[in-house]
């Protein structure tokens, strides 16, 4: 499905990605690794937002390295930003309509908002600007990527900033995406609950692929499981609370 060949990315005289080689064919693949290891940069190289210094990106058998972002979108890639972009004047419904690539369909657009736990009536006409909270912005970003859909959806830490109480339903969103859509998902995450539903995990470190294996193996190897029965300040005893 997706193949990265010898991807390098340099900026400010720094090697941010060094010789990344990856073949992604599984339905649900997670990328994890320390802050600053190059995860977001890698995802942006796949989408065409960052141009690699060298290397090729092959999607569905086609070399897309030189294609602009919108051509990649047309070929079935969708993207949810770690820091969602804000606008002035454009509303949630405008972007959902653009994302679904067809005429405005209120029922359809509302269903995407419902899926991310936002009451459609309250949000469909909201402007995508500074008045939205961080968590609301992240949910809308996920809804847009889901509305866009396609062969492969790229999510950059979609769960960051989402409150614990809504976290479970968000996991459902991804489990649903995984089961119901015929597209693949590539997701950057630090969360155990997301990592454990992945088929495979890429562990990125210092701009290099340090490990790439099944979720089971990687999570054990790096001690990514917290174990059950957390008794932290969030008081979610008996559950893995991710806090």
């Amino acid at each position: 499905m997706l193949e990265l060949q010898n991807i390098c990315f340099r900026a400010d005289d720094k090697d941010i990605l060094t010789d990344v080689n990856l073949k992604i064919d599984d339905k649900f693949v997670a990328i994890t690794g320390p802050n600053g290891s190059g995860k977001s940069t890698l995802l942006k190289v796949i989408m065409g937002i960052n141009e690699p210094t060298s290397g090729r990106v092959i999607f569905d058998g086609e070399d897309i390295t030189d294609l602009p972002v919108n051509e990649r979108a047309k070929r079935g890639l969708s993207f949810a930003f770690q820091q969602p972009v804000k606008f002035k004047g454009l509303r949630v419904r405008d972007l959902l309509t653009i994302a679904s690539g067809s005429k405005m369909d209120l029922d359809r657009d509302c269903s995407f908002l419902k899926a991310v736990g936002l009451c459609p009536r309250d949000y469909i006409d909201r402007e995508i600007n500074d008045t939205l909270s961080g968590g609301e912005m992240k949910r809308i970003e996920i809804a847009m990527a889901a509305a866009k859909g396609g062969k492969m959806s790229l999510f950059d830490e979609p769960e960051a900033g989402i409150d614990l109480w809504s976290f479970n339903s968000l996991i459902d969103v991804f489990e649903n995406l995984r089961e119901k859509t015929d597209g693949n998902i590539l997701i950057i995450s630090h969360q155990e609950r997301i990592l454990e539903i992945a088929d495979k995990i890429v562990y990125l470190k210092d701009g290099k692929v340090a490990r790439y294996d099944t979720a089971e193996v990687i999570m054990d190897e790096f001690g990514m499981r917290r174990g059950r029965g957390c008794k932290c300040a969030h008081g979610m005893e008996g559950e893995s609370c991710n806090g």
Binding site: M47, I49, P68, V69, N70, A73, K74, L77, S78, F79, F81, V85, F87, K88, G89, L90, R91, D94, L95, I98, A99, G101, M144, K148
Partner: protein, 305 residues
């Protein structure tokens, strides 16, 4: 009305047919259609071109449309429209002017609107300016709007000039009484070698008066815009001025928010920003499948909504 006039009417007033409620349609310097209601009277001025619109106390949920259409090349006019709005009203007024000039002579419309709003009334004012035409004749518009806002009243003005006017100089002046509030959303898009100048002047004279004035401009091509928002706080009041602009190509924008306070309890703020379209906004829309040009158009459409 002919097809050109009907199309312009749609551009400036979003009307496909004659509106309900009171209206006066002025086409090529003459009154083309008029309707009055039990509460809204429209009277032709005797001494100069224009009309008086008289709205009775307590008029609620009524509207008045007064679009102006010019489709004759070379027509230049100066029109005076005076609104007398009573107490305790809740009305919507839709004004606007469209010029279609396919000839070689310049066409111009100078509209002088004055509003006398009584106490505790709510007025929504919508004004659109639009020009089109393939001829060499230019299209000019110089609207002046003067507002006297009575105690406890609110006026919400939505004014825009979206396309096709070669040169404009718009002046809006408002005096705000006790507990009254003025809201202005002004939008201008210029292109090619068009020029636009706007002055939005507001005197917060009454105690607890408020003003929220937002101007958004987009200058494309070689066009030039000059926007001044000028708020004076002469009492315990709150005023907010915001000039927000996007420049493209070789466009030029001068934005001047000006505040004057002559009372220690006046609270006035201003913001001004000019820049090109944020690259990340274009990128975001491209991830949803739009080309760079489509993305720019969408962003501007939203910005000027």
């Amino acid at each position: 009305m002919d097809d050109i006039q009907k199309r312009i009417l749609k551009e400036v007033a979003e009307l496909d047919a004659l509106p309900v409620g009171a209206f006066n349609i002025r086409a090529n310097g003459e009154s083309a259609a008029r309707n009055t209601t039990a509460n809204i009277d429209i009277v032709t001025k005797e001494d100069k071109p224009g009309i008086d619109i008289i709205i009775k106390d307590g008029t609620k949920n009524e509207s008045c449309h007064i679009p102006v259409i010019i489709s004759k090349t070379g027509l230049k006019e100066c029109v005076y429209n005076d609104f007398f709005i009573g107490d305790n009203c809740d009305v919507t007024i839709v004004a606007g002017c469209g010029i279609s000039n396919c000839g070689s002579h310049d066409s111009a419309h100078d509209g002088i609107h004055s509003f006398h709003v009584g106490k505790n009334s709510k007025v929504k004012y919508i004004e659109r300016h639009y020009g089109e035409g393939t001829g060499t004749g230019k299209r000019f518009m110089n609207p002046t709007t003067e507002v006297e806002l009575g105690e406890g009243s609110t006026m919400d003005m939505d004014t825009s000039q979206i396309a096709g006017i070669n040169d404009t100089y718009r002046i809006t002046k408002a005096d705000i009484s006790k507990d009254a509030m003025l809201i202005i959303h002004d939008k201008i898009l210029t292109n090619e070698d068009q020029t636009a100048k706007a002055e939005l002047i507001c005197n917060l004279d009454g105690e607890n008066s408020r003003a929220d004035i937002v101007s958004r401009g987009v200058a494309k091509g070689d066009s030039v815009q000059d926007v001044i928002i000028d708020i004076s706080g002469n009492n315990k009041c709150y005023g907010h001025a915001e000039c927000d602009s996007i420049i493209m190509d070789r466009g030029v924008i001068v934005a001047t928010p000006k505040l004057k306070a002559s009372c220690v309890d006046a609270s006035l703020v201003h913001e001004a920003a000019i820049g090109k379209i944020a690259g990340e906004q274009i990128t975001k829309l491209m991830t949803l499948g739009l080309t760079e040009q489509e993305a720019e158009a969408k962003i501007i459409e939203g910005f000027l909504r």
